[in-house]
Amino acid sequence: MSDWYRDFANSGLGATITKQLGLPRPVELRRFEPGQPLLPGPAVVGSAGQGRLQEQLTTLLIDAGVTVSSPTADGERLSAVLLDATGLTGPADLAGAHALLAPAVKRLAPSGRVLVLADPPADADSPAQAAARQALEGLVRSLAKELRAGATANLVLVPAGAEAGLAGPVRFFLSGRSAYVDGQVLTLAAADVPAGQDEDRPLAGRTAVVTGAARGIGAAIARVLSRDGAHVVLVDVPAAGESLAAVANEVGGTAVAMDITAPDAGPRLARQLLARHGGADVVVHNAGITRDKLLVNMDADRWNAVLAVNLQAQLDLTQALLDTEGALKAGARVVSVSSQSGIAGNRGQTNYAASKAGIIGMVRAWAPAFAERGATVNAVAPGFIVTEMTAGMPLGTREIGARLNSLQQGGLPVDVAETIAWLAQPASAGVNGQVVRVCGQSLVGA
């Protein structure tokens, strides 16, 4: 699906008109392709206070082939600015953040990255330290809104002991995989992180289950997981079997036509995964339906159907996989697709938003148990994603929906898929119980 407005705004005449009128000028985002360098240009790494991560970050960048340049050097456009703020002791130290970021952001290239790393405020030794750490959130969220030309700013909170899990998230936020993830705060946890992964095929040898895989975001997830090396088991309702088979054949996967709300769906899927694939490494709960109506007009069928498919089925499937010995392999990754509606609410979507908010509660509650198995469970909350579904919306609603975010455009299914594929990586062991919004820093529910 093409973004006609973005294409227009970037055309010769369109550029002139949009500039004159002060209209938003969305750019084409830098998106990931296999074999692509982590960053197209140099990065700078600086710190506010005496941080403990600067050296680790610099090494990581150099290992990834990124030129680390001096914060004060002139000229060359920067692809990324990394701020190690783990040394903050109080608000005064934030001056260091300003000192690094202000000149660097001026030099930021299109689709550049600002990534701030800090300790969680809750772990602070003093109110002053907590204040300084919390202040970063305001800084990053505001900066994300100021950035132009597809650049993003995100904050990663690294508790003491979680440093080993830093590489995966840092690579994600710098790479094109996070093109539509902006203004987010991610909290890492201490975890055993397997050493090294093939960055071009991080999921090689893994089996990934995707529900609702016949079309739209689900199909995009299947494609990206397959591109990253996974064998994908694609699940969708029998009625969608035709496109399900087509996507399965496209990605070299296995099609499983089943109604996930059927009473025996979980055990059936668990048995098949065990028998055919020796268990699953990745489970993506993507299947979801909408049955929109204002609450007062909503019948029980609409309410129940949405809750059954979007929430109860995720609980039941996951439980069945947990209960079946070997169905979820060691180090498994479960990713649930939530929604912006689940965070911000949406008129006419009480049922849908309830189900999607419920998912957030579910992953947070399950995270500790998953951590014990060396596994993770996370949610991804898409914002305005351009799909067949949104193509059916009225033009005005669609265009407003697409522009109400810092990147001034709708995301693509692949953006959601990339985030999920990242959470599915072995290197994402330290990301657990998180909700990652893929919304371009939507104004809704921010």
């Binding site: 029998p238 079997g241 035709e242 399900l244 054949n249 099609a255 055919r276 020796g278």
Partner: protein, 427 residues
Amino acid sequence: MAAQTRKAAIVGGNRTPFARANSVYARASNQDMLTAAIDGLVARFGLQDAQVGEVVAGAVLKHSRDFNLTREAVLGSRLSAATPAYDVQQACGTGLEAAVLVANKIALGQVESGVAGGVDTASDAPVAVNEDLRRVLMELNRAKTLQQRLKALSGLRPGHLSPSVPSTSEPRTGLSMGEHAAVTAAHWGIGRTEQDELALASHRNLAAAYERGFFDDLVTPYLGLARDNNLRPDTSMEKLGKLKPVFGKGADATMTAGNSTPLTDGASAVLLASDEWAAERGLPVLAHLVDAQTAAVDHVHGGEGLLMAPVHAVPVLLARNGLTLQDFDFYEVHEAFASTVLATLKAWEDDAYCKETLGLDGALGSIDRSKLNVAGSSLAAGHPFAATGGRIVATLAKLLAEAGPGKRGLISICAAGGQGVVAILES
């Protein structure tokens, strides 16, 4: 050659939903549908770019352009292009015979895996030019000089333009299959009510099987159709009873559109393999194809009913396997017509017939009717001739797998030309 044989495993199957002729698949060719059925099988078992031992399939109504139908379907599918294929045709027995052929090669160790299938379209049936026109054209083709060509062309007549449309008439008798079946129904005294009851059971069983998700991993929607569109879950004895007879005469006119199969479009495919091949890929073994038998009767001169050949084949198969007709947990008797199934059962129950015509010591006896076509059959699903065998093999294999190990099922399929193909599957 392998010193000893092994039994071929049925891994699973896939088919398109079956569509009444001139409905959803009106524009789909045999090759389109067979490719779709194979691709659905590939998707189900992750066989993309895999080379199976061979693909064997066929169609009853076939265009001359489809001389290599199965191979062309393979080339258009996601299977490896290095997969060999060939066509078979044994009328309505095609699908089952294809499975038997693949199973036999697996049994002999000549292949480790194979796909058996079938397809038919009554909507996109081949229409040939008028026989007279064809002869003029052939003569024109043979002509070498202008004079010869002009002479050939001078044979053209306006009437030559009317096409030659295929029919389901038996070539030697000129009787349609329904007319033949009506003769048999009258001979065996098959009544209207029992035929309608069988049709009703077929619709109810098929609908129930769909409802419980039985076909989730046996059927892949095609061209937007997710279920067989001949299925009438809400049909009743009353509704079936209102239909006017279309075959038979007078009091024997008991066969209606409700208790006869309609012309249908669709395709099916079954994956067979050695146990080892399946195990290496983590694929299930639903059942094994134990043995099979074909038979033919002389419906032209011999006085036996056109569709009665399976009646002759089954006792041979039973004897070879040391079984009785009652030693089965499931019976899949193809419902070409309700009367065909009932005549088949009645013949097996008839002591005199079994002795005199089949040369047995006595009647084979009755079967437990609750084990018959429990997931529906052709009356409800429809009957795209060559695709029916694949439908039945996959359905029975799954029924047996559900029932647990050591269960046994009998397949009986009647075919045009007075032929029959029968087989035993075992879980």
